[in-house]
Subunit: 363 residues, 4 copies
């Protein structure tokens, strides 16, 4: 931390600042210049509330120097981390595609979307059972029924499941069904939720808050890490700016910046960034090219009937191009596409449940 | 809702859109112009997912027209609402000052801050027992112990208590102690929390999300209203912009805009907007002058020792000026300052608890 | 300037940074801490391109400390400045209303608007002859013909004229007619224009760029000051944010912040900030209450026929309320309303020109 | 244009709006719904000032439908345009690299930078002789001397020259030396300058204003086009947001969006977007992958001595990687790298001038 004294600050003011810093357990180093004196603090500076120093007479500014996060920082953990979701890697050396419907609606829609996802090269299935919606009148998700559908589709397709949790009280339930928990952009500073997912022992995908700085995003990850869970994947999904042509502004630079500051993997959501289907493929290409460790993409068998965000879901025609992109681009950066876990044999009972569920839903 | 067709859209495309709209229960009115055809929809347009219409061939744009909130809208509830907190009005005709410490730290600090608040003209006491902090290493509040301190200080000073709740699971507990629940900026789209406070039967102060549009803010209020609670006070507390000279940018225009769109009262937090003590009084004056129904302000007996946001807390010298502002400005707009409830007699037992608590804390 | 070394930086790296700083004429003070070393620079630090230092091995960050503007800074010019426009003061102790039509359209419209302005308490007349418009198809102003109208209306009403200049090549011409030159938000970093108005010897009103930080705004003023002109009035007119309910977001906090950083007067434009007539009066009240040294407001005799920004122009009914605000609010801050210059006797010839011009325009 | 009536608007209000619209030469189509009436306007809607309609009684909102630009719109010019700079194409089918020093400092520095540019695959040379700088105390460029250096380096290397012009008064002079004129982000709404470059008969590169919406960017291009010049290349260079980790936020989505709305080519500046050397290559890869028609990149032989923006200039080591990217990525989208014009023979006199200049500068 650096304390900048005002040009009119007196020698006594400087002494007072030094004493306050030392009382707080810091070493203070005074640098006197022609027009300004600055005081550098070293040691246990995190203990000090910078705000308190600002109050001392003669202080013009207090500048924080060291980063406020530790466990997720790359400073002391230079090697980048690979997070594994049921064996599927997300991290350096691979590009991992997560795809599926924005919201789980029916067993049949989810299964079809999962097959589309797999055809496009996905290694993990996304799908929301709990949907945070701006309007209380919009579809809010199927809840546990949606989780059951996801589990059945996992059994059928072999794709591990990534799904959102929106309330600390639901974390245990969601973790019973999901292979990876997602914390969404609106909950990026819901600290109770962050702590709850930090304690549940499953990998977490943490979306960036729509107005979170990169530093705040990493601080949110630190909340999860502090509870003992370092299996965190960061997901850039667009930030809020003045531009209205796109739903959000994909901050593509955030990918290399976050990868430099943190050892955690960083993926990109090209569907929610733009909110427009015609932007998904260009942004997916840009994300892989910039070095993202993966993508999370909406697909839907009949987007015009989607209960949520249909306007951004990829359809069949786009999937072949996405599959091509997933095949061709990663090798240019010396990487490979991540693959789903080795196929599992579906038990007869599970298959029966799935079929029954699909029949019930279409009834 | 208005659907704008692309110049190259065909007559068949227009027919398809009209059919889709009518299938969804809307009336469609086609207006053909020289270069564009537009289709106006009326009726149950909320049922339609605008997104789905965007997919139809020939559609260039879909523009939503009617506001997406109902219960909090002024369209059908022209009279502005007065919310009463233990008898203290917040609404048209009055200006209500809510003041107190950002965080409850000790009984003694809270009591002193409450007395400062009262001297400045406050009718309600603010103070946080649960603090959402960007860093997991920052002070997170005293929890239920903090709530008890607030209740004791209420008993001593007669000021009803406004305090934040950060997790749906805590709503019942906080509501036992508080007279008004506060939902903070980071939880402005924590829908589980909004629904929980909507069902608990106490007035709610809803801070604007730091990147929420005014419409999203009103939608968040709609979540609370939908659970049967219309005792909602909106609080503008600064939005996130590119400017870094202030912690947030107080959107002073949001006060008259929100008052026009909604019947709910709107107050201003000049402390968190700027994050600087020297801005609190100027912004407080601006807020009253623009027509805000109240203010919520941080005060602290010793800000340089504050565990949270000390740099913005008003100190003794500022309070006389705040008291003057609260006396002089409201009458210019034909309003009066709101007063605390009539004094209560403190029971001997409550007084003893308070004294014991203060002694324990200072030990 | 402060250089923060990376935790992995070596002693040799530190020596190299110190040598580079000293070679550039700075003193370097090294502070070694547990985890970080920081190097404070004093002396001719402005000569150093901070960027170059960032390149040195082991450097993690370079933090600028001293403000980059000098002539407009309050650091060495503690007393706030009063700028006089043909005798009318803008500065501490007064509140100055500037009003008039957004664009000069006809002599008759301009004269009527000026009379409205005067009735509302204006001491200066605004009106644009050169209009920077987002669309090349929008009305671009009358040019020199508009300047002549303004001069004639000044002769008739006694109100000195404030008018915008949009190109360095026009500065001399505009200065022949105007009493104060305005530089608009779109030209806030048109440095050729800033330098030209700095050299012309007339007071300048400098609007804040719509995405300029307060520091950049002051740097733009420094460009003018550097040419020898310190008669600069800063005008806050709203910044660009994500909120779309208002055309811009009035940054009301920028008024006290800029007044603290600079000795120059700061006024507010409540008309362009919100872009809505219903917000002008509330924002005008807020601006005076926050401590602004004046207001600039659009008025128009028939806004529904305005060629520019009619939707924000005040009409007759609003003017009485504005006059009341200008009378009642300034005394609360110990200030008075600024008055127009003492009336001048209009020569017969000037009067004839005005009448002829009005007749020609309405023909 | 669509006019939305307030729920309380009367039938007479609707009639008045229709009459106003028809008086302005529009056709009005009224759609009455359950809760709202909307009026669609067709015909010469550009003639109408939307603002004026907002004033009519009962009007709740006015929504513009058709795009406000014509010449640069893709609506009536579906084929994307290729702009040629001295024969070098910028447009569909190619990826064009423009590289060179941010500022021209000496003949030797410029020549070395140009050779670095060429080695990296550049077809055009960039370099600034007029530099718009936030601070009046920063290096402002060499002016005409810089233009002469650029011309000499063109003669030596065969690379056509792209250079910035910052004042309408300089356009003729700059056009004598340059092959393509650049309008920078700070002048993106300097309409006098836009009109001047529109009339000079040379290709123009128009950077996006740092707070310009995509629509405003296209309107700025329309100003140039309106003067008869359609040889315009749009350049995305980052927008201003709340994020401070990067100098600007590269709006990568703006590339496909602008290519859809306009037939003009769109390139990306990865150097100024991030303001950090370590981001240039990742962002360059992303830009090509998203479909940009080219890149403009800073290179400098000794960035640590650069007088401007040294911290973002690529150095030798990076150039090989850039060359690889320019070779490998375009073919994935079915494109090729654009090449410089066929080599020219340098006259002895020109060569002598260059050598003399270099000697003088290094003296």
């Amino acid at each position: 931390m650096v304390i900048v004294m005002h040009p009119t600050g007196s020698a006594a003011d400087i002494v007072a600042v030094v004493e306050a810093a030392e009382a707080a357990g810091c070493e203070a180093h005074v640098s006197r210049g022609d027009s300004r004196t600055i005081i550098g603090l070293a040691g246990q500076v995190d203990q000090l509330e910078a705000a308190a120093l600002r109050h001392l007479r003669g202080v013009a500014d207090v500048v924080r120097i060291s980063v406020p996060y530790r466990l997720v920082s790359r400073d002391h953990h230079v090697q980048r981390t690979t997070v594994r979701v049921d064996g599927v890697p997300i991290g350096p050396g691979t590009v991992t595609l997560i795809a599926g419907p924005c919201a789980v609606e029916t067993p049949e829609q989810t299964l079809r979307a999962a097959r589309m996802a797999k055809a496009a090269g996905a290694a993990l299935l996304r799908g929301g059972a709990y949907k945070p919606r701006t309007s209380p009148y919009a579809f809010q998700g199927l809840g546990e029924a949606g989780l059951r559908i996801l589990a059945e589709v996992r059994a059928e397709t072999g794709l591990p499941v990534v799904t959102e949790v929106v309330d600390a009280a639901d974390v245990e339930l969601v973790a019973e069904y999901a292979d990876m928990l997602q914390v969404g952009t609106r909950n990026a500073q819901n600290f109770a939720l962050l702590q709850a997912v930090g304690g549940i022992g499953k990998p977490v995908m943490l979306k960036r808050g729509m107005s979170a700085t990169i530093e705040e995003w990493l601080m949110a990850a630190e909340y999860i890490a502090q509870r003992g869970n370092l299996d965190i994947v960061l997901c850039e999904r667009g930030i809020r700016t003045f531009e209205t042509a796109t739903r959000n502004t994909l901050d593509i630079s955030a990918v290399p910046v976050a990868q430099r500051l943190s050892h955690l993997p960083v993926i990109v959501d090209p569907s929610h960034s733009g909110g427009r289907r015609d932007l998904v493929l260009p942004l997916a290409r840009a994300a892989i090219a910039v070095g993202a460790d993966g993508l999370i993409v909406d697909v839907h068998p009949r987007p015009e009937q989607a209960l949520c965000d249909g306007s951004q879901a990829l359809v069949d025609g786009d999937l072949r191009e996405l599959a091509r992109v997933m095949t061709v681009l990663p090798p240019l950066g010396g990487r490979t596409r991540a693959h789903p876990p080795a196929p599992v044999t579906l038990s007869g009972a599970a298959h029966a449940r799935l079929v029954v569920g699909a029949a019930a839903a279409s009834a």
